[in-house]
Symmetry: C2
Subunit: 349 residues, 2 copies
Amino acid sequence: MKNGPRQRATIIDVAERAGVSKSTVARVLAGSSNISDEARDRVLRAVSATGYERNHLAVGMRSGRSGLLGLVIPDITNPFWAEVARGAQDRAAKDDISLLVFSSDWDAGKEATHLRALRRARVDGAIINPVADNFDDLDRFGLPFVFIGSSAERFPDTLSVGSDIAQAVRLGMDILLQRGHPAPALMLGPRSRLARARFLRAVHEHCVARDVDPEILLVEESDYTVEGGRRAMGRLLAGTWRGSRAVFVANDLMALGAMIAVREAGLRCPEDISILGFDGIPAGAFSWPGLTTIEKPGRQIGVRAVECLLAQIAGRPEHGRIFLPCRLVERGSLADVSASAPIRVAAGR
Amino acid sequence: MKNGPRQRATIIDVAERAGVSKSTVARVLAGSSNISDEARDRVLRAVSATGYERNHLAVGMRSGRSGLLGLVIPDITNPFWAEVARGAQDRAAKDDISLLVFSSDWDAGKEATHLRALRRARVDGAIINPVADNFDDLDRFGLPFVFIGSSAERFPDTLSVGSDIAQAVRLGMDILLQRGHPAPALMLGPRSRLARARFLRAVHEHCVARDVDPEILLVEESDYTVEGGRRAMGRLLAGTWRGSRAVFVANDLMALGAMIAVREAGLRCPEDISILGFDGIPAGAFSWPGLTTIEKPGRQIGVRAVECLLAQIAGRPEHGRIFLPCRLVERGSLADVSASAPIRVAAGR
DNA sequence: AAGCTCCATGGTAACGTTCCCATGGATCGA
DNA sequence: TCGATCCATGGGAACGTTACCATGGAGCTT
């Protein structure tokens, strides 16, 4: 609130103050070796005296590199995407790169607007969770880019980073088996969603590998919301239910809803019904019991996406699709009814 | 993946193609009126033929405006701050402005690094949740800026946007009173935190206004975490507790912990103990019962912060500090034990 | 001592815009 | 019909940086 000049120092101001040419200043700043100690010294002093700070706009204009990356995700308010953003942010910061963050709300129009903004800002590349189906635009991007998330599936030829659903499903089925639930019911999303097919395919493959007939698995369908999960669980509880009383739910929101339905039916989780979620949202830690779930590597996805993008920009593109492993988070919604531990309830908090 | 030229069209390319000078193109693009219809037409056609897109780097360099704003928050992964970011994003997009988002992790060093990055990127202004105590740097920012969040309190002379704690506390105390809990226990954060003092002061003022002796209120101290809230609730339940069995908890995480403690003690919420939270985190919607809480206007804070900042950049600074009202979210953790409704339990889901 | 290399430095063009000024044709009033 | 005004357009400078080329002095070799 004190001083007034408010005019940023330029490289020329520094040069004048140091009594050298701007070329020399530029060389010092670039860390060039052919500089006399005296010149370097005077320049450095002038820099700190003037509070000079390199103008990235000018650098970008000259070099064609803005030092900016774009990130377009569905909603920064969604904890999974926030994790992705955080990972990308941290990784980018290491290379002195800043991130422009946009939320598309799964709206193709907004997505297009944001991509235009990115092009105008001359970002060096973009990380995108694609919502639009027709990316004939794909090369009209005019930008290096990497896709992230499951919707990237639709573009098999494009470099993308996502979570390894097949591995996650194996992880889940194995822990269920180990706890004495060889044939859990499944609660899936709507048929229209690609993620559902992938999940189901992985379950089938796993069953085949473990000599279980996938047809015996009860399948309930819902819509990825808490309320949907609650209703779907109600239907499950109302029906006949062979085998162990466990449900593998395809996302955490539905799992939380299922837990509520169990309580509403006068039953207890995990003693009467075991629930395994999938996503790793923070809210799962606060339910009662805590939700045992399979956590997607959100942060890692952000990190790897930035790394792929930087590699691509540098001209040595990694290719193909990258699937990062998920992780089991045990919190207490899984009972152990295996022969070896007939009474124990899996711990967790 | 098809075409190769990959060289972005410049205004000169457009001019050549349209057979006019770059000045004319610039005028058309700027929407100037003194343009012949024919020229405008040819320029527009050339623009869409070349896929020309204005280079914001060059614009910024020429005009001194980058069209970028900086946002420095503690952690984009924290739902409250994600809401703030989202509000800021949406508001900025309306003015064709993009947001650079950084997470400081409440670390003064990271904050400083991020501010340097913002200056180099020549953002037009910054929205900051300040962590460093000594901002003698304050004017060394060399940037228009607006503070957000409660830590902005420490800089009373600076333009800031935050939530109206006093109003929130009144709201909470009033709903508690109305439900028959005239003298709830309070669960606060650590003494070191400014937010605590403010919360407590507001409670006292409200008590005085309602002719209640604030001294009769039980006060329990904790640390803003779930686990801390659980332990603090344990202490409350272990002690003697006059008056109605209700707790006004200073943040939602602690409130969720308190709810767990109630269940662990073999009691029920809200029948035995009513809990009122403060924050409005999403997890509160998934607990059982749902957490009744007072929601901070995160998104609005982001919106208003951008508006203040834009005003300041435009040279008509709003001044002083802006406090936005909070909102009661009823979900079911508050019993109604007032005389008028002796049995009812406040609804909510 | 002449010619060579090497190194520290300075000058200048270029990146893509926008803004100001100049120009020249058309239109108008007297 | 001539000068004044207006309007559409073109030319060029400037924003701050970096990369390339030029220069001149010091030190080396033969």
